[in-house]
Amino acid sequence: MIEVRGLTKTFAGRGGLLGHRAVPALREVDLQLPPGGAVSVIGESGCGKTTLGRILCGLESYDSGSLLLDGRDAKELSISERRERFQRIQLIHQDPYSALNPTRTIRQTMLASLRLRASATKRSQAWTERRANELLELVGLDPSYCLPRYPHMLSGGMRQRVVIARALTVDPDALVADEAVAMIDVSLRLGILGILRKLRADLGLSLLFITHDVAAARYVGEDGQLYVLYRGQVVEQGPVDEIVQRPTHPYTQCLLSAIPVMRGLERPGPDRLVPLRPLDDNVEPPGCLLADRCPQAQDDCLLGRPPLVSAGAEGHLHACLHPEARSVVATPEPTGSSTR
């Protein structure tokens, strides 16, 4: 179980257009990732979702709050315990082009990590070769094709599979996938998502899936939770399909309204909202963080920041003073209409 409580992180000002200013990346985030479970995090660029993933992998510090790994505070672990524990949480990031060393063949990349694993677990060198083959097959690659090749000789989809196979060399129990399919062709995305789905089902891996593709989040973790981050704050959370079908926070509704509708195959949601105007992160509204962009903002939204409270349904929470359930996502056209 990986859990964060009250996690807060502020980046020191790096001098924007208005001079130096601090950028809050996470504001008192609570999140639980149970063993074998899936949590998807959505939000626009700059909402803090990448920072959250990096903190969970032990790659980023945080200002306050706590990160609990199997009930133990990460800050209380010894250095060797920390290293061992964080090794079991592996990060898959967006860009498979920069994640692999271009001067090493896939064999060298895989074996470098497997040799360490072999010596740590007292296994023979012959095991490393066997394991490299096994892992590449697990992610749907042909080892005899991939092993002798360099990363530039593989397609983006194949490279991302290699990155996943390499993450598996250390027998992780959780994966953090940060926009793992954003740079992959739409036609190849499902293959990668299918692997993540399979790893959850077959190996019991838990998955933190950071994305802006909500349909992809449904595919890998329909049984899990969806968290919506806005400027570092969780504004809505709950079971994936509950949030998708009955979002109550206007920000979630705008995000879901922005998903393209496949006209002819789908009908737009009846309450679909217009796109939000661009985020101006130089302005921090005193009350609700969304108040300056919200289509439903009222006067009292500027007074206080709404806390995360129950929205009625089991596990569904929202942080909005004037929540209203809206149906914004497209629904499939009845199948009968697809014959001429």
């Binding site: 257009l17 626009e44 660029s45 397609s155 983006g156 989809g157 062709d185 739409v186 036609s187 190849l188 995305r189 499902l190 293959g191 998502l193 299918g194 802006h212 593709d213 909500v214 349909a215 992809a216 449904r218 595919y219 329909e222 998708v244 079908q245 705008c254 995000l255 879901l256 309204s257 922005a258 998903i259 393209p260 509708v261 496949m262 006209r263 002819g264 195959l265 789908e266 217009v274 796109p275 939000l276 105007r277 661009p278 996502v329 497209a330 629904t331 499939p332 056209e333 209409s337 697809s338 014959t339 001429r340």
Partner: protein, 354 residues
Amino acid sequence: MRRRQSRDTASETAAGNEDGFEGLRVRDLTIVYGTEAGELAAVRGVDLDLPAGTITGLVGESGSGKSTLALAMLNAVPSPGRITAGSVTMSGVGDITRLRGRALRQVRGGVLGYVFQASQNSLNPLKRVGAQLLDLARSHGVAQPRLILGEAAKLCERMGLDATRVLSSYQHELSGGMRQRVGIVFALVLNAKVLILDEPTTALDMLSQAAVLEVVREIHAERRLATVIITHDIAVVAEMADRMVVTYAGRVVESGTAGDVLRYAAHPYTKALLRSIPRISGDISAAEPLPGRPPDLASIPTVGCVFRERCPLAMPICSDVDPATVSVGPGHTTACHLAAGPLAVPEQSEEVAG
């Protein structure tokens, strides 16, 4: 069953009549790359109509030749690629593939607006946006270059950008969504008639994507442009486009109104592509991955159907004979042997109808 009226019947009938057509017309275009393995065709025998007032979506995977095709519309295919056959004719300009030097430069960025895939790479990092606009005006012989800034400012405001700030910014000071909009300003500021967008939203998050698409839709309608959106994301095209052209390995495999292609997809590739997209509602497990690898230049078959190696319905004829482009509905065509001869395989008729 009721069918949506095809929007381009007028342009189809005007095929033999150059004067009646307004927009960009590609005929029998072939582009080859000279490689160590000989000349390989990245685009082969492509016909395409981009009429004014229509948004055309050009869908294809990496390696389908879609960006090469788009660059050919500017006669800007990079070496070692070259156009070996066919024409790109624009109403009022003529065959762009025959233009050279100054005449070509006037057309590019003038009547032909092009928005590059990574607009951060198409802006000069050392110059402010405004200064680059002045360069554009000078290189296109605008009499009073400063006037272009006013026009650009209007376009910026139109797109929800703060014009004063944007024009005095360097590209690194703008977000991805803003840069993409600036790219559109550059494409349109000299009154382009044709707008070519190459992967306009690939690097953007979903809110920026929706905002950019909304801007394109509005300006397209306002100026009655001939707009073409080139993308691997069929959902973007499904939301935006009037017409849809599906390419595979440098060939057009299906085209028609967006509604028809989505609803009555005729080519096995289009069907597989549609099945591979996870949807936001309904049974999520209905999505199926597209089998096989995307095409690469070296392994594209030169004879027979280019999709046959990944096609679940491939027949012996597919290896030997190029499928002809046949009509499967008003303004809806496909290049597939199954669609060409439903009598040849009666048990597959369900697949043909989609």
